[in-house]
């Protein structure tokens, strides 16, 4: 895509970095969050 001019190397790097940042933030959010209440296990079985 870079060779064909539809994507620049800078833009490709930015997409990769954005994806990494998003994953890092999600992992950190998970680690920082308390465990859910056990009783929540039976939520959302049916609408």
């Amino acid at each position: 895509m870079i060779e064909q001019g539809t994507l620049t190397a800078e833009r490709a790097d930015q997409i990769a970095q954005d994806a990494r940042d998003e994953m890092e933030a999600a992992v950190q959010f998970g680690l920082d969050s308390p465990f859910p209440e056990p009783e929540a296990a039976v939520n959302f079985v049916y609408a």
Binding site: F35, P36, E37, P38, E39, A40, A41, V42, V45
Partner: protein, 326 residues
């Protein structure tokens, strides 16, 4: 001569011994012996040990065809849930062809899979869905809970002339136990009494057998002697063994990892209610998974699953000793 080996080694030993005994036994599946250096491949060649493509429909369909042609295929399916994409082959073909041919053909095959991998594997790999197979006439379903039974039931499954769903528990595969070295057969449809006792019967399936035995030990400290029965196979189900224990104890708790309304426990309870009602001194108590998909989060997972405390609590309830302990 018995020696201690892990459950998973006992399963593999049974397959290798059956392949050595009978050249019509085949073994294939995803990730089965990918290297030509694998001992099974070296001993039995690629004619009989194969890696198959990621298509359960093809793998099980092929097994049905091979079985009709006189072979005894053992198909490695890894997770019981993976059979769901091939339910036509599992439900509509393998178990029904003998019946629909008026007994003219037989379909001897083994569908080997793991189940109940409740170690944070979340919703689609942790189910205990054996009862849906046990409800299909023509299929046999076995749930080995010890290394010796893992070997003996696999050998019997290979020799059985019917399709057998062989479900190993992924949390048991590294458990060690005494396993006979040579030929070892455990009859399909024969329950085992894991612990004798006269006060209450605990019927426990698969992974919950160990939990029931731990509960029984705790209860022994309270003066309660529990009898723990492991049906080992759900289809056929050894109801005479269960009924005879209930006749002796008058009290029944059933532990099962499946969701309550699709559990082996509910089937056993119905049978005892119909055929052993006069023996019962209290209502039957079921300790099953809750009717929810097994969640990923550890405390939520523990909340939905049976465990030894829940089993012991149920025993105290049926014996009317719950308040005394609390």
């Amino acid at each position: 001569m018995a020696r201690e080996i892990p459950y998973i080694a006992a399963v593999n030993e049974a397959i290798a011994q059956e392949m050595a005994r009978d050249e019509t036994v085949l073994f294939y599946g995803q990730d089965v012996a990918p290297s030509d250096e694998d001992p099974l491949v070296k001993q039995f060649t690629r004619d009989r040990v194969r890696v198959s493509p990621i298509s359960e429909t093809a793998e099980i369909g092929m097994a049905v065809g091979a079985a009709l042609a006189g072979y005894r295929p053992v198909v490695e399916l890894l997770m019981a849930e993976f059979m769901l994409v091939a339910m036509n082959q599992v439900v509509n073909e393998a178990p029904r062809l003998r019946y629909m041919s008026g007994g003219r053909v037989k379909v001897p095959l083994v569908l080997k899979a793991g189940y109940g991998f409740t170690a944070g594997w979340a919703g689609q790999h942790t189910g205990s869905i054996y009862t849906m197979f046990a409800g299909i006439p023509g299929l046999k379903v076995v749930l080995p809970s010890t290394p010796a039974d893992a070997k003996g039931l696999m050998a019997s499954a290979v020799r059985d002339d019917n399709p057998v769903v062989y479900l190993m528990h992924y949390l048991l595969v590294l458990e060690h136990g005494d396993v006979p070295e040579g030929e070892h057969l455990v009859p399909i449809g024969e329950a085992a009494v894991r612990r004798a006792g006269g006060d209450v019967t605990i019927v426990a399936t698969g992974w919950t057998v160990g939990k029931a035995l731990a509960a029984a030990e705790a209860l022994a400290g309270e003066g309660v002697e529990a009898e723990v029965i492991d049906p080992r196979s759900l289809q056929p189900l050894d109801m005479p063994a269960i009924l005879s224990s209930v006749e002796k104890t008058g009290h029944l708790v059933i532990a099962d990892q499946a969701t309550r309304h699709a559990s082996a426990a509910s089937i056993i309870a119905a049978e005892v209610a119909e055929h052993g009602f006069s023996s019962l001194k209290a209502p039957i108590k079921l300790v099953t998974a809750l009717d929810a998909t097994v969640p990923y989060s550890e405390p939520m997972e523990a909340y939905v699953l049976p465990d030894e405390d829940k089993i012991a609590g149920a025993v105290r309830e049926v014996l009317g000793t719950a308040s005394a302990v609390a």
